[in-house]
């Protein structure tokens, strides 16, 4: 079917996954309310499975998007393979999150219905954030995602740390949104439009059409994206928010929110500002440099696994920024590929953190992992695989992802970035393997120290899926790479799609 957006109804087709998810979120909310009736009844675990069905339905709708054909890039939402790819990514993260958190929510006596519907709605936000071609829609997607995640961060009301994390995340997030919004205003004033494709036409391939306002607006957008993806120096909220939030939600933030931020970052800059690559490329270059170096050093002394993973996620933002700095089809493809791997391994690692943390997340320090490998071998093996993949060990997805990022960087001539990336990931081995070290080479404090860990069936599914994904992507990355490359190509070749538009 051909989508041309001159008729409003076509937005319904183009937004089908988002519509399905929003409707499902409301359904989940209603079912939860009616199922519980009396408020003392705990939520049924079936809510989680219902949510998963919704994710599946959205995935089907998303697959259906591929049959659509867009003729112009001047619509508010893109209907391209990049969007389909990133949508699948967010759905994957949501599905893993639901599987990981079902047992956790019961154990922490948290509400299922509200939480799962908020997760679905935040995924709607991510899809819009990463899929829109109109800055105000992107902003709304950003806010939809962020507001839902602020709530999720503070969702455990009995936990002071969660409340504190939510407050910090919220205030700083709103603060950075203001800059982002000011950036949109400046671009609007400087170009007269907020449609990415039209902006790119006005800016021109050589960037000569850009004036000071567009440049200033562009860097303010960098601030907003930099905050969401936790690039140094906009990262300061990350360790606090990640440590304070409930562990499954931290995983969701670290994986999905970051992925959405990056996808949108990539789409906006590669679609709207290819002509200004000299400017933003340099900015992203330096952001990547410091974002790779600083957190890797700080993580060396983190004694808490959640905090270590928080710094690790900042470091990974640095690696992804390298791919972004390359700004080629290859760069965007490696970037998409890495996001998938990153989502799998981060959520997987956080799943283990959830399990080991047990009731009230009492066990998140390194010592709690002592001897875990021998007491819970499968869990230990899973965590080791995630850690190795995060470090970039060969035969894991993390390695392939890094190789592709490096390749994109080298091909673009960003050799210093490539060298720093290699060095940074070698440094990162130290803190990732320290956890593995505790698991396998330390005596457990007592014979029954792992006794409280119970792996629910849903969690098992999540862990198996994540491990299988990480390993298979390390050995047979070909298929996904091809998809990523196709998605990336649709992002880069958007210039030819502005046909029919004439500058007013």
């Amino acid at each position: 079917m051909v989508i041309d957006f001159s008729s409003q109804i076509h937005y319904v087709w183009a937004l089908m996954p988002e519509i399905v998810l929003s409707a499902w979120a409301m359904l989940v909310l209603l079912v939860d309310v009616f199922q519980r009736g009396d408020r003392s009844v705990p939520s049924s675990p079936a809510i989680g499975w219902l949510t998963l069905v919704g994710v599946g339905a959205a995935a089907v709708a998303n697959g259906w998007l591929m049959t659509l054909q867009e003729v112009s890039a001047t619509g508010m939402i893109a209907v391209d393979e990049f969007r389909v790819f990133t949508n699948y990514l967010f759905l994957l993260a949501a599905a893993l999150f639901v599987l990981i958190s079902m047992r956790y929510l019961e154990q922490e006596n948290m509400r299922h219905g509200e939480l799962f519907s908020l997760v679905l709605l935040s995924v709607v936000g991510m899809m819009v954030f990463a899929g829109a071609r109109d800055l105000i829609v992107i902003f709304l997607g950003l806010e939809l995602m962020s507001v839902a995640v602020y709530v999720l961060t503070g969702a455990n009301r009995r936990d002071l740390r969660a409340a504190e994390a939510a407050l910090k995340y919220f205030l700083l997030g709103a603060f950075s949104s203001a800059f982002f919004l000011f950036g949109i205003a400046l671009i609007y004033g400087g170009t007269g439009t907020i449609n990415l494709a039209i902006v790119s036409m006005i800016v021109g391939v050589d960037g000569l059409g850009a004036n000071m306002l567009v440049l200033a607006g562009m860097v303010l957008l960098v601030v907003g994206f930099g905050f969401k993806v936790a690039a140094v120096p906009f990262h300061m909220w990350t360790p606090d928010a990640y440590v304070g939030a409930p562990a499954p939600i931290t995983g969701f933030m670290a994986a999905a929110v970051k992925a959405a931020g990056f996808a949108a970052f990539g789409r906006v800059f590669m679609t709207a500002f290819p002509g200004l690559y000299d400017t933003w490329g340099a900015i992203v270059y330096w952001l990547a440099v410091i974002t790779m170096i600083a957190p890797n050093l700080v993580a060396l002394v983190a004694g808490n696994v959640k905090r270590m993973l928080a710094y690790s996620s900042i470091a990974h933002a640095g690696y992804l920024l390298v791919a972004l700095a390359a700004a080629s089809v290859l760069g965007a493809a490696s970037f998409l590929f890495y996001l998938v791997v990153y989502t799998l391994m981060t959520l997987g690692a956080f799943a283990v953190v959830v399990l080991v943390g047990r009731q009230g997340e009492q066990f998140v320090d390194l010592d709690s992992y002592s001897g875990l490998g021998w007491q819970r071998p499968l869990l230990g093996v899973c965590m080791t695989i995630f850690l190795l993949s995060l470090a970039g060990f060969p035969f894991t997805g993390g390695f392939i992802g890094k190789v592709f990022i490096l390749r994109a960087a080298v091909e673009k001539g960003l050799v210093p970035l490539a060298v720093i990336l290699v060095m940074a990931s070698l440094v990162s081995y130290w803190y990732y393997l320290r956890v593995a070290w505790y698991m396998w080479f330390r005596e457990a404090p007592s014979a029954d120290s792992a006794s409280g860990i119970t792996v629910s069936p849903a969690m098992r599914v999540a862990l198996v899926a994540a491990v299988a994904g990480v390993v298979l992507l390390g050995i047979f990355p070909g298929q996904l790479l091809e998809l990523a490359e196709r998605g990336a190509a649709t992002l880069i070749n958007v210039q030819g799609m502005v046909g029919g538009f004439s500058a007013r």
Partner: protein, 171 residues
């Protein structure tokens, strides 16, 4: 005349802003902010954004700020005289950095031909003439921007669920 009015309201807006930042009591800060919002509404009128001006007063000053006031009262912060302003060093450094940002932004704004001129004023005048203040906004909103409009509905749903989830007293 309008220029003079503009300057008066601009001064009030800035004064309200400064008052909010420097105010010792939360309620005083809040009232200063309300003053800014009213002044902005007046400036909107001067800029021929009549409907926006009305919404500014109804939504911002009337709803959002009242919500803030409720919370301040609820938490019993009305008579909280504990000064929460940071020390002089922070104030100086903060003002200087904000000043630098302001300077750089105004520099960007003052470059020759930076702002695209598509004859917005005439278009707005025409829209106001042909439709009314509401219609002038409603047309583009429901014709061109229906997608973001629907999105705001979802956003408000999230906010509602979230606020209930977070602030409800019983677990």
């Amino acid at each position: 005349m309008t220029t003079l009015l503009w300057y008066i309201f601009a001064a009030l807006a800035i004064g309200g802003g400064v008052g909010m930042v420097m105010g010792r009591q939360p309620v005083a800060s809040l009232l200063s902010l309300v003053l800014t919002f009213f002044s902005l509404a007046a400036i909107y009128i001067l800029l021929e954004a009549h409907f926006i001006a009305a919404v500014q007063i109804i939504v911002y000053a009337g709803a959002i700020m009242v919500l803030f006031l409720f919370v301040i009262m609820l938490l019993n912060l009305g008579h909280d005289y504990r000064a929460d302003l940071r020390g002089l060093a922070w104030i100086v450094v903060g003002s200087v950095s904000a000043g630098v940002i302001g300077y750089m932004l105004s520099r960007a704004l003052t470059t020759e031909g930076a702002i695209v001129d598509q004859g917005g004023a005439e278009m707005i005048d025409a829209a106001l003439r042909n439709h009314n203040a509401v219609g002038a906004i409603a047309l583009p909103m429901f014709r061109d921007y229906v997608v973001p409009f629907e999105l705001t509905a979802v956003l408000l749903l999230v906010a509602m669920v979230g606020a209930v989830l977070l602030a409800k007293r019983r677990v």
